[in-house]
């Protein structure tokens, strides 16, 4: 039997080459080699993307983090100033018994304060003091870096300093193609895996019966001809080219992933289900409005860091999944069109 001969050959091969005792140095060397090989495999690119994001988050944390405090401080200062001014108006400058001049000047100072707050909100991204946490914490910056290289760009956290903006531009120039590389690599691997699973689950209906027949024949002393043997023992081959996954399956994978995300986020963030689905879709399609963002409504100390990280993982995996589905869907569409095109060509050839 061929399989037996292969097995015996390989076992004898192993016996022929006795394992040398390896020193620690060699073991470490081998370990490093294996590690390097691993890093440059497709798992490596995931590590590379995550590592790049982490590096980016440290950079943005140092550049932008310091600005936050001064901003809050300025608004508080302005508030104190206004309060003092009002006090002076009330106690000293006007006769408390005549109301009109007091009212108009108080109104004026209030309006000035209002303008200041509006400017702070719009231009500097002031968010009030009750958002106690710094947006540029580690996990916040991590999510920011990820939204830059994935081109989601929520915009709820944006760099306010010139250096932060410059860093964002440079970071994006290097990071965008890197992320695309991640998408195309992981997408095609996932597509292959998906095809294989689909093939095993749905297309291999005859496999089991055939294997059973093969086993029965083997156990009884029935003499098989070589052709028969080959016919029965050969499992149907998996050809990536020949297998196409139907579009409906791809769509249901996407919808399932969206729905799962929607349920999870709805539970965690106390959003409605539609809001959750809307957030997931807007994020995964890289539109990224930023009107609904995880961690917006939560005060600090409720596991907000964990949520940011989870959100990042959801996005990374989800975009790879969508790339996979596009991969598969295009293949299917192309396959169909090819068939149609060939048919049409044949028809017209006949006519001519």
């Amino acid at each position: 039997m061929p399989s037996e001969t292969v097995a015996s050959r390989s076992s004898s091969y192993i016996q022929e080459s006795p394992r040398r005792e390896r020193t620690w140095g060699q073991k470490i060397k081998d370990g490093i080699r294996t590690f390097l090989a691993f890093m440059f495999s497709n798992v490596g690119i995931i590590c590379l993307v995550v590592g790049y994001t982490i590096a980016g988050s440290f950079v943005f944390m140092t550049i932008e983090g310091s600005v936050h405090n001064t901003r809050t401080h300025k608004v508080a200062q302005e508030r104190n100033k206004t309060a003092e001014k009002l006090w002076r108006l009330t106690c000293c400058e006007y006769n408390p018994l005549v109301e009109d001049p007091w009212k108009s000047s108080a109104n004026e100072s209030l309006l000035a304060f209002q303008r200041f707050v509006v400017a702070a909100v719009l231009e500097q991204g002031y968010e009030g003091e009750d958002y106690g946490g710094n947006r540029w914490s580690f996990s916040g910056s991590f999510l920011y870096s990820l939204t830059v290289i994935t081109t989601i760009g929520y915009g709820n956290v944006v760099p306010r300093t010139e250096w932060g903006k410059l860093a964002t531009v440079c970071y994006a120039i290097v990071g965008l193609p890197l992320f695309l590389l991640y998408l195309s690599n992981i997408g095609s691997i996932l597509a292959q895996t998906c095809k294989w699973i689909y093939f095993k689950c749905f297309l291999c209906t005859g496999c089991k019966a055939r294997r059973q027949a093969f086993m029965i024949r083997q156990e009884s002393d029935y003499e098989m001809s070589i052709e028969e043997y080959l016919e029965l023992s050969r499992a149907p081959e998996f050809k990536p080219q020949a297998v196409t996954v139907p579009i409906t399956l791809c769509l249901s994978i996407i919808i399932g992933y969206l729905y799962g995300g929607a349920v999870l986020f709805a539970r965690w963030e106390r959003w409605g289900l539609l809001d959750g689905a809307y957030f997931c879709f807007i994020s995964l399609s890289t539109i990224g409005f930023g009107d609904i963002v995880p961690g917006d409504m939560i005060k600090e100390g409720e596991g907000i860091e964990l949520k940011f990280i989870f959100c990042s993982m959801y996005l990374l995996l989800g975009m790879a999944l969508i790339a996979m589905c596009f991969n598969l869907m295009q293949e299917e569409v192309m396959h169909k069109l090819k068939v149609v095109g060939e048919g049409m060509r044949a028809v017209f050839r006949c006519n001519n």
Partner: protein, 409 residues
């Protein structure tokens, strides 16, 4: 390796039409885009022009071909514009009433807060200074909160300036169309967003259908851009392909920066208040479709110009980013091949003969690269290495790989 007349830069153009595909080459080799069908068949598919073109006699074929090609380009573009306008109008119809209502609510709230504040001050006049100040501080805080919410809701001007909330509403026709275009290009500034359930649901459906359409238009534009890239001056023919492709990636990147700079000057001029750096930053964030939305053009008069600039720019950017990605992918594959050799070394650990041979091979490779031979020789060496390593893979059928995702940038 395909050499000679084949274009040195390789651009993947998948979404242009589902019929043009790219055959994923064996490691280390370069294969141009492969088209399954001739142009006329494709454009007849794209345009929905019936199959007459196929039956044409040879006489005016080239003329017709050009026409259908042209119609294919513009027809898709027009379809996209019509779709965008339609979507914008629906968004406006869905969102406008709600926005006006919220604006009125905000306005009333701020006014109420202010009058409350003034009243409570006049009530509390007898209090001591310290008490009064803390009281004021508290009151001001609530007032600030109301103003802040109003500002975020779109109430920008001080209320006393006497403009009606309906005039302030951000969902006017032009803005809504602009919003629809930011959805389709996946920029998504987020300065205006749908808030009603109806608006959000419509947004989902609108994007689901529209994004693929927009992607195909962008890829179409990108192919026009990329066709210009393929021809290189003749004096570059002698340089090795590696250097050539690196060079072209660099040139592409420079071109992108140039395009963005031109756009930045344009926006600086039109917007008036932006500095050059600010408008450069805006153009970059837009062209890469990141779209933070902290800087958004404010004057609705030239929204359409802005949209056209974005569309053309996106075609360019996606092509260029794809070129750079391609460079990454190539070097990635080289590194992977080397890593494979390393892994083999590590696995072979025990058997002395094998490790010796592998090590020999490896050293040979390393010295090849170190020896400062001519670039051509070096490249050939790398090629052979890569080919040897990928031998088992060569037996597999080539994988037809199309990634529509490119244009998600």
């Amino acid at each position: 390796m395909l050499r000679g007349p084949s274009p040195p830069i390789l651009v993947y153009f998948y979404p242009r039409s589902p019929l043009a595909c790219h055959v994923e080459p064996a490691i280390g080799s370069i294969v141009g885009p492969v088209e399954l069908f001739s142009d006329d068949v494709r454009s007849s598919f794209v345009m929905g022009i019936e199959t007459e073109t196929l039956l044409d006699t040879k006489t005016d074929r080239s003329w017709r071909k050009r026409l259908t090609k042209f119609l294919g380009h513009t027809g898709l573009f027009l379809l996209l514009i019509a779709y965008t306008v339609f979507g914008g109008l629906v968004f406006k119809a869905l969102e406008h009433p709600t926005e006006v209502a919220t604006l009125e609510e905000h306005e009333a709230l701020v006014k109420e807060c202010r009058s409350d504040f003034l009243k409570s001050i006049s009530k509390n006049r007898e209090a001591s200074e310290r008490e009064f100040l803390t009281f004021l501080d508290k009151q001001l805080n609530t007032y600030e909160q109301a103003v802040q919410n109003a500002a975020r809701g779109g109430l920008l001007v001080p209320i006393t300036e006497g403009r009606q909330p309906a005039d302030l509403a951000r969902w006017n026709n032009l803005q809504a169309i602009f919003f629809a275009s930011t959805v389709l290009t996946t920029i998504g500034y987020g300065n205006i967003v749908p808030v009603t359930t109806g608006g959000r649901t419509f947004c989902l459906l609108f994007a689901l259908i529209g994004i693929p359409l927009c992607v195909s238009v962008i890829a179409d534009l990108g192919s026009i851009v990329a066709n210009r890239f393929t021809g290189l001056p003749s004096w570059l023919e002698k340089v090795s392909t590696t250097v050539k492709s690196l060079l072209s990636a660099l040139v592409a990147l420079l071109l992108l920066l140039l395009y963005i700079s031109v756009g930045a000057l344009l926006f600086m001029f039109l917007e008036g208040e932006w500095s050059f750096f600010e408008s450069f930053y805006f153009c970059f964030i837009t062209m890469t479709t990141i779209g933070f939305g902290d800087l958004v053009p404010q004057k609705p008069e030239y929204m359409l110009l802005c949209t056209v600039y974005i569309l053309i720019g996106l075609g360019m950017t996606s092509t260029i980013i794809e070129i750079v990605r391609n460079e990454y992918a190539k070097s990635w594959k080289r590194i992977q091949a080397l890593a494979e050799a390393l892994r083999k070394l590590a696995e072979a650990g025990g058997s002395a003969t094998e490790i010796a041979s592998l090590q020999n091979e490896f050293i040979q490779r390393i010295t090849m690269t170190d020896n400062n031979k001519s670039p051509k020789q070096w490249e050939n060496a790398v090629d052979t290495i890569v080919r040897n390593m990928s031998k088992p893979k060569l037996k597999e059928p080539k994988i037809v790989q199309i990634i529509i995702y490119e244009t998600s940038v």
